[in-house]
Amino acid sequence: MNMKQPDHTTFREWLYLEPDGELKAGERSSLQQHLAACASCRQERRELVAFNEMVDESKIAVGQDFTVEVMTGLPATGWETRSPRTWLAAVVAVLLLGIGSALLIGGAGQEAMSAVPIAAAAAVWELLSSSALAGAGMLAASWKGLGIAFQDVLGQSVWNIVAFGVLILCLDLLLLRYLVRRRTADAKSDHNQT
């Protein structure tokens, strides 16, 4: 079967596709044959080569610190906190802290060294329980303080309670609106990716 020979306009279009690697082998060889016989296409090709060079030369250089700036400015992400490596680092830090504490408390003697694992576990437990206790204390104190403040303000009149109720309702609505918008934006972003 004879393939239809492309016309001059098609060869013109192929001239533009060739440097981008968008021509098949057969098309490339047809184009070469056409170029050998067509002076205007040869001229067009010279101009195209000059055009591509001019475009390449016009590219700007990126600032030297660009990568460093991006890497130091990376935001915290949800997936990062779920990463096993993040948890592993925290666990290792706590263990090292515990062992260090046990060594300090128990001294560096032989007797103390034999009790290191137990002492380490005890030290970690002490550390965690004191942290939890301190946190709970702070929380309780904050809530108590807030309670006293609210009692002082709201206890003045019924209108204060009504105004407070309206404020809470508005905040709830705002939060709800934010969540709905965020969900829509996420869905849109997922759709765009595909």
Binding site: L17, S58, I60, Q193
Partner: protein, 191 residues
């Protein structure tokens, strides 16, 4: 040793090797900044926006689908960010002169950038500015494709996927866009 592909790098980063994100940044920073520079005409704005784009991608990295090319995703985010930036500029411009028509045509946003030229020597400055004038003279849909191909260095196939256009349309528009640019740059091409 062969270079890991983009999808492998993303997988490594998600496993906890966050520092490998700099390899992705290194791969795409030049193309991205040049792409944004040709749309925004300000080196500073282009670099700032490129950083924002990388931050956006990093935040959403766990939603990357490796069945699709990373470059297509990156330039889609960049394209949306550039359009938002242009619209913001236009709002400022309209509110400054109060002559705006309210049209959403992206072809009407241009105004001279206050940035100094990023080119060091006179010859490159002239040629770089001539290229910019030729790009700015293109209709918006041609301009987008030309900038994606020549400065974003995306393949025809990637552009077709990004713009959700048939491959034939991409080829045709790039052909016409380049011809239009060549006509405007004729003095530089026949030296």
């Amino acid at each position: 040793m062969p270079q890991p592909n983009d999808a492998d790098l993303v997988a490594d980063i998600l496993k906890g090797e966050q520092e490998r994100f700099n390899e992705l940044v290194g791969r795409y920073q030049g193309r991205l900044v040049n792409y944004l520079y040709r749309l925004l005409r300000s080196t500073q704005e282009a670099e700032d926006l490129a950083q924002e784009v990388f931050f956006k991608l990093y935040r959403a990295l766990d939603r990357y689908d490796p069945r699709y090319k990373f470059s297509t995703w990156l330039f889609r985010v960049a394209q949306n960010a550039a359009i938002d930036q242009i619209r913001k500029r236009r709002l400022v411009l309209v509110s400054m002169d109060r002559q705006g028509t309210g049209s959403d045509d992206m072809g009407t946003w241009e105004f001279p950038s206050p940035d100094p030229s990023p080119y060091r020597d006179q010859r490159n400055r002239e040629r770089g500015e001539a290229i910019q004038v030729a790009i700015d003279g293109l209709p918006w849909d041609y301009r987008e494709l030309i900038v994606l191909r020549h400065f974003g260095e995306l393949s025809y196939d990637e552009i077709a996927k990004l713009k959700e256009m048939p491959l034939g349309t991409v080829k045709n528009k790039l052909f016409r866009g380049r011809q239009m640019m060549k006509e405007k740059l004729q003095d530089f091409l026949t030296d």
